[in-house]
Amino acid sequence: MRRFWQFGLPVIAVACIAYGGYVGLFVAPPEVFMGDVYRIMFVHVPTAWVAMIGSLINFGASLYYLFRPSQKADALAESAAEVGVVFATLLLITGSIWGRPTWGVWWTWDPRLTTAAIMWLAYSGYLALRKFVDVPEKRATWAAVVGIIVFVDVPIVWFSVKWWNSLHQTQSSPKALGSEMRQALYFNALAFTLLFAWFTYLRFGIARRRQAEEMTAPPALNAGEAA
């Protein structure tokens, strides 16, 4: 099983990303109003989807940690947050690139864009907090509390296009897309999810090793309390 996660999954994920890119760029037909620019959707929407999954896993693991402290839960929360921030960064960049030809601006303080930027900042702050606290138990507890608090923004991001008057379009229903576009979008969402799973697996392993090293480190290295 470990072999699959280390070597099988990345091969499948990269192959799916490559095929998804081919379908999104060359197979799906142009959109009526946006022409070819809409093809950015096939990377923009999956990055949003995966960033949301990262937030959800971080929230669940943080909640679990507070009720039943576990190093694995803490490592999973850290891993999902970091990988989620990477995808959220790509989400903001691709959204900006898409905004320029369709809205005429790289950035605007629209509700969806603003709440998404706040989400990115909040999770970046969460990761920064983890770097600043040296004592493992204290770091895990504080991070779990912050992980739960910052998750509040995630449903706000999701519903922002419905609650407020937004330039950003509302969530499309599957019926709003042609079958080729829908299949391309679903396939890319699957490909990005597989890549997210692999990244999180690797990052989880790195976090677990750091925990093991902290447990075996000389006391002086873990003496943040005494300072």
Partner: protein
């Protein structure tokens, strides 16, 4: 093409290159860190360390 926005392939390629390039760089950094030799004498990674889980 009947679109209001003509062309735009430059934006499309820019977005895909940013995404693929960003993911490739992050993925490589993870692989490098994951397979880096550990400074700990303990075996590191996923799933083989049940016995070290705290209560």
């Amino acid at each position: 093409m009947n679109g209001e926005i003509q062309g735009g392939w430059g934006f499309v390629w820019a977005a895909y290159i940013v995404v693929w390039g960003g993911l490739a760089m992050y993925g490589l950094s993870l692989v490098r860190r994951y397979f880096a030799p550990s400074t700990s004498s303990l075996p590191p990674l996923n799933g083989d360390d049940e016995g070290r889980e705290e209560g």
